[in-house]
Amino acid sequence: MPSLSARIAWETAAAVRAPPVPALFHTGEALKLSVQSLTKVFLHSHRESTPALRNISFDVKAGEFICLLGPSGCGKSTLLHLIAGLEKADSGRILVDNKEITGSGRDRVVIFQEPALFPWLNVMDNVSFGLDCAGVPKKDQSKKILEYLRLVGLSSFRKAYTHELSGGMKQRVALARALALEPDILLMDEPFAALDAQTRDMLHTEMQEIWQKTGTTILFVTHNVREAFVLGDRVLLLSARPGRLKKEFRCELPRPRHIEDFALVEAVREVLSDLREEVLAANKKDLDHEELAD
């Protein structure tokens, strides 16, 4: 058995490594997404500002499964929103298929941290929302919609309204809704955080299957280090706010992976200490900030 460190290899951040490009092309696959020196600062009304992301750069190949790890408030959601075109960066560029993005589009679908279902539509109509907007006739949709609802285990709830669903069920509808659009890039913001362990495990397996079947490029934000290594080909570790790329791990354990796999658990242990450092740094920064404010 090869050593663990060979299977999960950590590299320094793409931003630090120079030049960052060649390593990604060894398989000859096309570059899907390129994030180039992205910076985002939020301005508040009281003339203060929060730097959310600073000079972040990375590349993603077509069909790669990337997980983003980082302490709370480091700008992970912001990064996904920028890539989705829902917000504008202060500097830097985002290229999709070598073209700079100008706004939101159905090729990059976000699954938000909160489910964001529409309460005026039932489960089925929520899932078909994107297809409706694209003008796909209802009769051509129903098979696909049922298929994805079945996948998330909610086909018997297709007529239910959102107020009749639990938090985890809502999140699963949101998942089905995004998958039904079959986007090129799927941007998932802690989609499984509200689920019970069994459902989550099941969805981990399903996600790996869907991903292998469809070849979708996935960016998956999570707080759960093990989850990141279950799903990701690569795991990007962001630093405390403002988010920068701190480290990058490559995970080559065979799929389908499971969150309780021995090899995975062992490998992740090493990574945890890195993350702990970051969380501590984040908290310390906050404390310093408070002292300054006092």
Binding site: H81, A84, G85, L86, S104, G105, R106, R108, V109, V110, F112, E114, A116, F118, P119, W120, F129, G130, D132, C133, A134, Y161, T162, H163, R177, A178, L181
Partner: protein, 255 residues
């Protein structure tokens, strides 16, 4: 269920008390008519067809005025809610005009439209349109940004954002505006009809006639009908819609 019994019991008692006091004849009948004489007056009114006709005339005016108010109010609200400059200008005018009781528009309306149906319908519109547009604007301004982001990421754009997200999201506000608008429209109509006859025996006109004939029983029976119609529409139309929407939108019902 128990609530209903309490209510019915209370009204029953009130009516008995009313009847007893009237039978004591402390005041003459044209000042304090008995409940039974009010009922009789209502009976005659329905029997000779004057009440149904009056109700029809008033409701027709209301339907036209309220319908136009809905169209105008929701459209106006859409612009006020979405476009900041319209909000600052037109929005503040609407807010200001709300301080004016709508019947004060009657003299102006009579000068503009002459002695015609248009004048009274104009008053009804001025009564309802402001609150409808304000609530609509409010609901639209408060569309959760997350809904818009979700719609955009799923490819909705332009007009679709309005028809599929912004308007539905504002529906609870729009409906409460419609309800408010309805009661304002009803009040404005009655005030208008009291002041202006217009050659039609409307509900408001029946009230005036009752006064002129010293027929207090008729005055009270017409008043009762006005109350009942207002309540009935609220009970049959707005209350069920509102309850359903609040439930579906996950807002808490306070009933």
């Amino acid at each position: 269920m128990k609530n209903w019994l309490t209510r019915i019991g209370f009204f029953g008692l009130l009516i008995i008390l009313w009847e007893v006091v009237a039978r004591l004849e402390i005041w003459p009948g044209y000042i304090f008519p008995s409940f039974t004489s009010v009922l009789a007056s209502m009976w005659y009114g329905f029997a000779d067809g004057s009440y149904p006709l009056a109700i029809l005339i008033s409701l027709r005016r209301l339907a036209v005025g309220y319908g136009i108010s809905l169209l105008l109010g929701i459209t106006l609200g859409l612009f006020v809610g979405r476009i900041p400059i319209v909000q600052k200008t037109v929005g503040s005018v609407i807010l200001g005009l709300q301080a004016l009781p709508s019947v004060c528009w009657l003299p102006l309306a009579l000068l503009w439209f002459g002695l015609s149906e248009k004048a009274i319908i104009f008053v009804v519109i001025m009564g309802a349109v402001l609150s409808i547009s304000l609530s609509t604007a409010d609901g639209i301004r408060n569309t959760p940004p997350l809904f818009l982001q979700a719609a955009k990421t799923m490819g909705a754009a332009g007009f679709q954002l309005y028809s599929r997200v912004i308007l539905p999201a504002a529906l609870p506000s729009i409906v409460s505006g419609m309800k408010l608008g309805w009661s304002f429209a009803w009040r404005s109509l009655m005030a208008g009809e009291l002041l202006y006859y217009g050659g039609m025996a409307s509900l408001g006109h029946l009230l005036t006639m009752g006064r002129e004939l010293n027929d207090m029983a008729q005055v009270i029976s017409v008043m009762l009908m006005i109350v009942l119609i207002g309540l009935l529409v609220d009970f049959l139309v707005f209350a069920p819609v509102e309850v359903r929407i609040r439930e579906r939108w996950g807002l808490h019902t306070s009933r």
